[in-house]
């Protein structure tokens, strides 16, 4: 060894640790998964951004496309529309979700598990579906269209109702979490000081959940602004940014303008995302304090009031879902309301037929399997790896980025990147693989955060102990990390599967005649006027997602019974 003589006087260079073979292997793996994120996310986004400053022949035109964009009133008007829909949806959804979450956490109303399950249903359906139900309910021949007092469901009203339906579970999860970390001692102190219940609400409850409410607001806003399904189905002439991208690309084949609109849509989404990240850090700080769990006291009037409220919200959700199911079963609405399965003959319609349904299942399965492996292993390497600080930081950034990128923007970026003749990866274009890759990337962030949270909860010294026992890291990964994180791994896989089933936005630009998907079929059948079959296919997606979710529930309980025996014993 040449470096044995380390002189103290020589303060020039700090010592460098010799890398173990483990370190080297982990660095290799993080580079591999990092390369995946670069190819599947960074490079497509870069190509898309650069397209927005090029003309259709590929010449550099600076901001000319943007000037053209802002000179087209119909396009600029969409910005206003998008913001309007986003803001109104945010206010309505967060209000509804807050009261519901309040009932779930602060009342003793009966049937909480059932109502919670119902409130999560919208996650299991494509965002196109509520629009279809609204057409049947409030459309020109709608069953109860008198209820709108002559207003038109096609347009902002329909979009906003759909978005409220679609975003409710997301807001609800965040606000329930925020409300459940309340510290009972604060309430006892306030009561002991003889504060009225109204005063307690405004001085204890609301300040405690403010970060949760802000966070929920940003999440809902982002979802509503970037959603493409609802405005596509029920937007009518009311254009928003998301539909503009679709129209520019699919309708007018104007890819450069599509890129410009994408950049415009990227700005509010990215902004909301970064503010949300800041707010969530503060929420975590609240969480870490040692709190005594709050046990709501029974109060008949309050509990019944909350029960009535939960019933109304459930009625809204089940009503929309039920309407879709009936829409699918009516033989010929509104003239022949007898029920039958004729609308399920997808092979007779445009959109890919039953094949698209099975393609979706195939795609969702691949996404769940490969996505879980990539995401969890990536998160593990970022958390536990040594060295390569800059690369790990960049990895972390790339892993968070997909949350800020609307699906349509990602899809368009994929067209640009994977369709380039000079790109050797263009063999992937129009394959199942590109659908899987885009979906994994699109839903990377939440999965990554789930994995990171689970990994952070593990004792940070496991790896140190394993190294002192001279065990290679992969042995500890297989024998300890994966078993301990099994619940999180199952969560990630089901999250990816369900979202792969329901997503439309990224894949709508990427499917081929051989790889049509169920969610895209809903869109295309609706486009072609076959609304009933679209509803039928949408419900197939729902039943599949729900079935898989139930299967997942029992499966994870079975696995937990087997592998998590050690967890239960710590309860008592």
């Amino acid at each position: 060894m040449a470096a044995t003589e380390v002189q103290v006087s020589d303060k020039a260079s700090p010592l460098k640790a010799k890398s173990s073979s483990d370190d080297k292997l982990m660095r290799l793996f993080i580079l591999v998964i990092g390369a995946y994120l670069v190819v599947a996310l960074a490079m497509p986004l870069y190509v898309m951004l650069s397209k927005s400053v090029l003309n259709s022949d590929g010449g550099f035109v600076g901001l000319l496309n943007y000037f053209a964009y802002f000179k087209t009133p119909s396009l600029v008007y969409s910005i206003k529309n998008s913001l309007f829909v986003g803001l109104v949806t945010t206010v309505i959804t967060v209000s509804i979700a807050f009261v519901l979450a309040y009932g779930f956490t602060r009342s003793r109303m009966p049937g909480k598990p059932i109502f919670k399950t119902i409130a999560m249903i919208p996650i299991l359906v494509p965002s196109l579906l509520p629009g279809i139900a609204l057409i049947y309910l409030f459309g020109r021949q709608g069953i109860i269209n008198w209820a709108l007092f002559g207003h038109e469901i096609y347009g902002p009203i329909g979009i906003i109702i759909s978005e409220v339906f679609f975003t409710l579970p997301h807001a609800l999860i965040i606000i329930i979490t925020a409300l459940s970390i309340a510290d009972a001692r604060l309430y006892e102190a306030a009561t002991a000081l003889r504060a009225s219940s109204t005063r307690i609400f405004f001085t204890v409850t609301l300040p405690g959940v403010r970060y949760g409410l802000i966070s929920a607001g940003f999440v809902v806003f982002t979802l509503a602004v970037t959603d493409f399904g609802a405005p596509k189905v029920i937007g009518g002439d009311f254009n928003v940014l998301a539909t503009d991208i679709y129209k520019q690309v699919i309708g007018q084949q104007n890819f450069e303008m599509g890129a410009v609109v994408s950049v415009v849509l990227l700005i509010p989404a990215a902004l909301a995302f970064f503010v949300d990240r800041l707010v969530q850090k503060k929420q975590v700080a609240l969480l870490s304090s040692r709190a005594v769990a709050l046990e709501p006291k029974p109060s008949r009037r309050f509990d019944n009031g909350m029960l009535a409220y939960a019933l109304v919200v459930s009625f809204f959700i089940l009503g929309i879902l039920g309407m879709c199911q009936f829409a699918a079963l009516f033989k010929f609405f509104p003239y022949n309301l007898s029920l039958g399965l004729s609308n399920y003959q997808f092979d007779l319609m445009d959109g890919g037929g039953w094949d698209s349904y099975f393609n979706s299942i195939e795609m969702a399965s691949y996404t769940a399997v490969f996505g879980t492996i990539i995401v969890f292993y990536g998160a593990y390497l970022v958390e536990k790896g040594k060295g390569l600080g800059v690369i790990r930081g960049a990895f972390q950034f790339l892993a968070m980025l997909p949350m800020a990128v609307p699906g349509l923007v990602l899809g368009l970026a994929y067209i640009f990147f994977f369709n380039m003749p000079t790109n050797p990866l263009n063999v992937l274009y129009h394959t199942m693989a590109i659908l899987v890759i885009s979906t994994i990337t699109h839903f990377y962030t939440v999965s990554h955060l789930t994995a990171t949270t689970a990994l952070k909860q593990m004792d940070a010294q496991f790896e140190s102990v394993a190294a002192s026992l001279k065990q290679p890291f992969y042995r500890t990964f297989v024998r300890v990390t994966v078993p301990v994180c099994t619940p999180a791994i199952l969560d990630i896989s089901i999250y990816l599967f369900v979202n792969a089933m329901t997503t439309v936005s990224a894949v709508v630009f990427l499917y081929s005649p051989h790889t049509t998907l169920a969610s895209v079929a809903v869109l295309n059948m609706d486009d072609a006027g076959d609304i009933a079959p679209a509803a039928a296919m949408g419900m197939m997606i729902f039943y599949t997602a729900a079935g898989v979710k139930i299967l997942h529930y029992f499966l994870s309980r079975g696995i937990e019974a087997k592998t998590q025996a050690w967890r239960r014993s710590s309860d008592n």
């Binding site: 103290v8 140190s464 394993a466 026992l469």
Partner: protein, 358 residues
């Protein structure tokens, strides 16, 4: 010191601009039990992690069993480690935890089973092998962690605050157990702790650290009886301090009078801090006026601590109060009670003198 098992030379560690360790040099003999003792943030854990290779030092050299391990990764060093959090693998049984380091070493299965049995017996958990860590108490879990660390017969055992997460009773018990085990196996051991009692009872030698530097290295007796610095005097045990100006080679002056101390290398006119332990303060019979050393004062309060009484005294004319530990017997004999008068003397041979910190 030529046969040191572990030799650390001029170690330094910086985190950015913050200096966590500076100029650390020390040697540990084979089979020795050494404690790194100091307040939180003194760098003791940083030093342990450097020895383990978990966080490598910025400068300096570490040699173990004659081999330079300064820059080796943990897996290429020879040590076992126990953490405060136990860090037991929660999904593996006690047996499998202990066997974790043995299995892949191509050892025969029966051999592994035998060794695990032996280790579990060693830590007194022979019948708990099939349980999961969460089914054991904290003390039992820490013993499993100890068995796991010892399984591969490492040359060096590192203990990072191993007792800090445990209840007081369990802690005392496990303290003795670890000490016995260490003696029996004669494994060179380094333990990090902020608990002086732990260090005093367990260690062969204590390394007292403060602000990233070593303040004193010595046997527990040395450290307690002859603290090398004012910091050590203050950190270990309870100590009274009296600020004085040195009058002559063995006398200091302060507003309340004079204090005699045994000669030290303090110069005349210099400010100094004299230190004396509460148990070394001698309570006198107030009427005994022959004793010229006698200082008179008032009893501010008394605190009953079971085996003895801790008396807070306000000596006449002094700037600060003084603590004295006395037996209940003396308290009764001399009628020591709050508000009453008391006489005492400070035996010069028990007084330590330190230069005033600049």
């Amino acid at each position: 010191m030529t046969d040191a098992f572990l030799r650390i030379e001029n170690l330094a560690k910086n985190f950015g601009n913050f200096t966590a360790l500076r100029n650390i040099s020390l040697s540990v003999l084979e089979g020795e039990f050494v404690c790194f003792l100091g307040p939180s943030g003194c760098g003791k854990t940083t030093l342990l992690r450097a020895i383990a290779g978990l966080d490598i030092q910025t400068q300096g050299r570490i040699e173990q069993a004659g081999i330079d391990i300064s820059i080796l990764p943990p897996a290429e060093r020879d040590f076992g480690i126990v953490f405060q959090s136990y860090a037991l693998f929660p999904n593996l049984t006690v047996e499998k935890n202990v066997a974790y380091g043995l299995e892949s070493r191509r050892a025969a299965r029966s051999e592994v089973i035998g060794r695990v049995k032996e280790l579990l017996a060693l830590v007194d958990l022979a019948d708990q092998g099939k349980k999961y860590p969460s089914q054991l108490s904290g003390g039992q879990q820490q013993r499993v962690a100890l068995a796991r660390a010892l399984a591969t017969s490492p040359g060096l055992l590192l203990l990072d605050e191993p007792l800090s997460a445990l209840d007081a009773k369990v802690r005392t018990h496990l303290r003795q157990e670890i000490k016995h085990l260490q003696r029996r196996l004669a494994v060179t051991t380094i333990m990090v702790t902020h608990d002086q009692e732990e260090a005093l009872t367990m260690a062969d030698r204590i390394v007292v650290m403060n602000h990233g530097s070593i303040e004193q290295i010595g046997s527990p007796e040395d450290i307690y009886a002859a603290p090398a610095s004012e910091f050590v005097a203050q950190f270990i045990g309870t100590m009274n301090f009296i600020n004085v100006v040195v009058e002559s080679a063995n006398q200091g002056k302060h507003p309340g009078g004079f204090v005699k101390f045994s000669p030290d290398n303090l110069r005349q006119g210099e400010s100094a801090r004299l230190a004396i332990r509460p148990e070394d303060v001698e309570i006198l019979n107030k009427k005994d006026e022959q004793n010229t050393d006698q200082v008179l004062g008032k009893v501010v309060s008394t605190e009953y601590l079971g085996a003895f009484l801790r008396v807070t005294i306000a000596p006449e004319g002094w700037e600060s109060t003084l603590l004295a530990d006395i037996s209940t017997d003396i308290a009764v004999r001399f009628v020591i009670e709050a508000g009453g008068d008391v006489g005492f003397r400070l035996p010069p041979e028990k007084i330590l003198a330190y230069q005033e910190n600049k």
